[in-house]
Amino acid sequence: MPDWKKLVRQNLPAADQEVVAEVASHLEETYDLASSCGCSTEAALELTLRQAGLEAGKDWRVLAKQIRRSISQEGPMNHRTSSLWFPALLTLLGASVSLMATQILGVQPRLVWVRGMGVTLYWPWLATLPVFGAIGASLSRRAHASVLTRLTAGLSPALIMLTVMLIVLPWGLVLDGLHFFTLVSFGLGLANWVALPAFALFLGALPFLREPQAIGPPR
């Protein structure tokens, strides 16, 4: 007999465990009924999927979309907005306000010297970032987003900085030329504004990358 839960999980990756269990249970019963006619495994499988309206890949996508819409808590926002743009914007806003606040409050960053170059390490700001990573990923998970979307929402400030730096780099090379100093400086900037914030945000987002515990018994 096919592993129905596995099949449903593969085709509805963002669905709750409870939904996966329920849909799998429905397919299992349909399959049992189809098998009772004495037809082959392949024929029973084909009949099951046809009766469930899941003959093509797009049928699974329709099912995923319909289920997502029906259980989504968000009203006027579409799924992409509620699962990605809104959490990402809130994470970015929180991280920006936190950076401003640490500067206004006069919390001093630490100056670290690397190969004769000073790097300003905003450690108080970095310490606040897990909170915003957690907010982004949790809001995204609440909107039934996939793990990748939750991660993107949680890491959005670092991803935006990465994009900005990748745009700035070619201009820097054009204006200053390709020098060892320029590349090291860029690398340090990348570590300071992208890698370290990304790590801090990831720590906060991590608990929300797991699927929430369902209410029902079947797992």
């Binding site: 849909v23 469930a52 309206g53 049928d59 319909q66 079947p218």
Partner: protein, 113 residues
């Protein structure tokens, strides 16, 4: 064999069909789809994409309530039962559909049995 009703028409009647069935007894998704198919002679048929989103939507509105139950064979099923709010919806929905059939009858000569 009764002619199968197109999904556009059957979608609207799904709420009434499900509420009517659940008013008799709590049922799980597969059984709901099966009974609707059998009782309508196959005219109304629910696929997964039409059944479960509707059930979840009705659950969100508080019309039905789902709970897991394990049968004697050890199989877990999510049974739905009608809530008080759902029971209250049944009469107005029936009236709405009756009014709809009367209106359709007046225009297109389509009357319900």
């Amino acid at each position: 064999m009764t002619k199968r009703i197109s999904s556009k028409i059957s979608r609207g009647s799904g709420e009434l069909a499900i509420l009517s069935l659940l008013a008799e007894q709590p049922l799980y998704g597969f059984e709901i789809a099966k009974q609707i198919g059998e009782r309508t002679g196959g005219a109304l048929q629910f696929t997964l994409a039409s059944l479960y989103p509707l059930l979840y939507e009705m659950e969100k509105r508080g019309w039905v309530e789902g709970h897991w139950q394990t049968n004697q064979g050890g199989r877990d099923r999510r049974y739905y039962r009608l809530t008080t709010a759902g029971r209250k919806q049944l009469a107005p929905l029936r009236q709405e559909w009756q009014a709809f059939f009367h209106a359709l009858d007046a225009i297109a000569g389509v009357s319900h049995a």
